[in-house]
């Protein structure tokens, strides 16, 4: 059966989706799937997910409201970076807005996709080195997480058919 190996390096809501969408889609096709979570991707394995998102550095991000009339929801708010980068907690606010918008459109939450990935035997590997550097504890992470390093990932990926760095 085909094999998909991914490295997830980002922990914001927008970047959390691709690895879990691809992992569940591949597992649904019967593929063998493994994701190595490293650096800022590591918090995606925490039991309690509070994923922020920021338009700073993402100038193409549509700034839309997930409520109100259709016309109101279609407005792309021209909020300058000078504002979004200076309001404390803006990235959490933007994260909750995006989460709501995704939910309204019928997209599964990251938590749901992750639960399905676990159910479909997707291998979730946490980078032990990043755990130590960032001071994360294994108790904070979901059940079934494996802890390993670069060599273990490479051994999983060496005979994979699709290999992505996200």
């Amino acid at each position: 059966m085909p094999k998909l190996a991914m490295i997830a390096t980002q922990g914001t809501l927008d970047w959390a989706y691709p690895p879990f969408i691809l992992a569940t889609a591949a597992a649904a096709m019967g593929w063998d799937v493994g994701i190595f979570f490293t650096f800022y991707g590591l918090p995606l394995l925490k039991k309690d997910l509070k994923l922020p998102v920021t338009p700073v550095g993402n100038p193409a991000m549509p700034m839309k409201m997930p409520f109100g009339s259709e016309g109101f929801q279609n407005i792309n708010w021209p909020i300058p970076n000078a504002i979004t980068s200076n309001i404390p907690g803006f990235e959490n606010f933007a994260g909750s807005m995006m989460k709501k918008g995704f939910k309204n459109k019928g997209v599964a939450s990251v938590e749901e996709l992750r639960d399905m990935a676990v159910e479909m035997d997707v291998k979730l590997i946490a980078c032990q080195m990043t755990m130590d550097v960032f001071g994360f504890k294994r108790e904070e992470f979901i059940e079934g997480t494996e802890y390993a390093g670069a060599a273990a990932y490479l051994e999983f990926a060496v005979d994979s058919d699709v290999n992505l760095f996200i």
Partner: protein, 77 residues
Amino acid sequence: MADVKQTLDTSGLLCPMPIVKTAKTIKGMEVGDLLEMISTDAGSMPDMKAWANQTKHELVEAQDEGGKFRFVIKKTH
């Protein structure tokens, strides 16, 4: 279709949920059974074809009914 064993309605759900739910449902069926799947995901036509190719289940029917898609899948293994 008269001999459809089960119907899965994924209306309102977006990628990857239609194929994930299809995979899950077909797992619980018998070889030879027909599953009818309804989707409103505009990407579901190419996705269901790819899913069937990859899983080797047979896509017996794939219809675009204008914003609504209807598939019939035969469980082959």
